[in-house]
Subunit: 199 residues, 2 copies
């Protein structure tokens, strides 16, 4: 089965659309998707890439665009959501732990719902604990582990792997070394995985 | 007939795709399109928005993405094209003059072909003169007029109108006050013009 690396970062607004769309799209396409949380903030800071801070026109557009696209895909959201999030690293360290333990995808979707539907900032203890509850994980031990040096290092390693794959923003999709950036390239990435070009 | 303002800037790479796709798409959709060249460099500088300078990973991706998308749409191109262009203001002052005289669209397409197919930088005298020739316009008087204060002011006014419409980058499409940014939102803009939402 063809495989896609789905590089996303909790804290990235457009990742919301991909996170909600991927399960159905991937199963329709018979493509296997590897969810890979990384620290997009580190990558963008290193690459001098500031997407929205200090850019009111572009920020206002981003929320409106996500609102229109969510409506198009039938995804529920109350926008704008709190942005930027506070502890981006911690949220993604939890997600990465979850990927190793089999609950990472569900945790990610639950956390984005808390952020984009309930309006609770995704890096906060409140949001992280509630998302873990909804994922049937005990928040206290998970958050403790997620703060340990091993979990910190694991996210840093994944972030370096993202950069090595050419990733400069989130969400990104990598298929056989071919990079696609943005939720609006998800269909192109699936097409690449299936037939080797963009249809 | 529904109407779209197509805000573009000679010098913008992704505008190439829209410039090549619009004639067919617009006539298929029964939508009337007003081509409005503006100075995207002024707008982005004012809004502290630096798309590609100093961002090698994002720049490399941009060319690869345009290449894949051009192939998808059956548009010929030799990439990467010289970037950034030198005299962005002059090129758009010529285009704006042409819009008033009825040859602006054809001039724009000819100039983009010279830039993206023949590899001649679009702000250069060579490219501008050749594009005017191919558009059956006499380069010398047109370039003289395009440098006069009236033409300079006209582009500045259009640029202010773009900002007033919420435009922060190129290409952008405005339909009944609704802004769409990027060639990948052209279909959404056409859909908005026809049915008032994104399908």
């Amino acid at each position: 089965m063809p495989e896609i690396d789905f590089w996303y970062s909790i804290g990235s607004t457009y990742s919301f659309l991909s996170i909600m769309r991927l399960p159905d799209l991937a199963s329709e396409s018979d493509v296997s998707v590897r969810w890979r949380p990384f620290n997009v903030r580190t990558v963008m800071t290193e690459q001098n890439n500031i997407p929205f801070a200090g850019k009111p026109a572009k920020s206002a557009y981003m929320w409106r665009d996500i609102e229109r696209r969510a409506a198009k895909y039938g995804i529920h959201a109350n926008l704008p959501a709190p942005y930027p999030i506070s502890d981006l690293a911690l949220a993604n360290q939890v997600a990465l732990l979850g990927m190793g333990a089999g609950w990472g995808e569900l945790f990610t979707r639950n956390l984005y719902r808390i952020w984009f539907e309930d309006g609770v900032e995704a890096g906060s203890e409140t949001a992280l604990s509630e998302a873990l509850h909804r994922t049937e994980q005990d928040p206290l031990p998970v958050l403790t582990r997620a703060r340990e040096p091993e979990a910190v290092r694991a996210l840093e390693e994944e972030t370096r792997a993202a950069v090595a794959a050419g990733v400069f923003g989130a969400p990104s999709f990598v298929v056989n070394g071919e990079l696609f950036w943005g939720d609006d390239r998800l269909e192109d990435a699936l097409s690449w995985a299936k037939v080797g070009h963009v249809v």
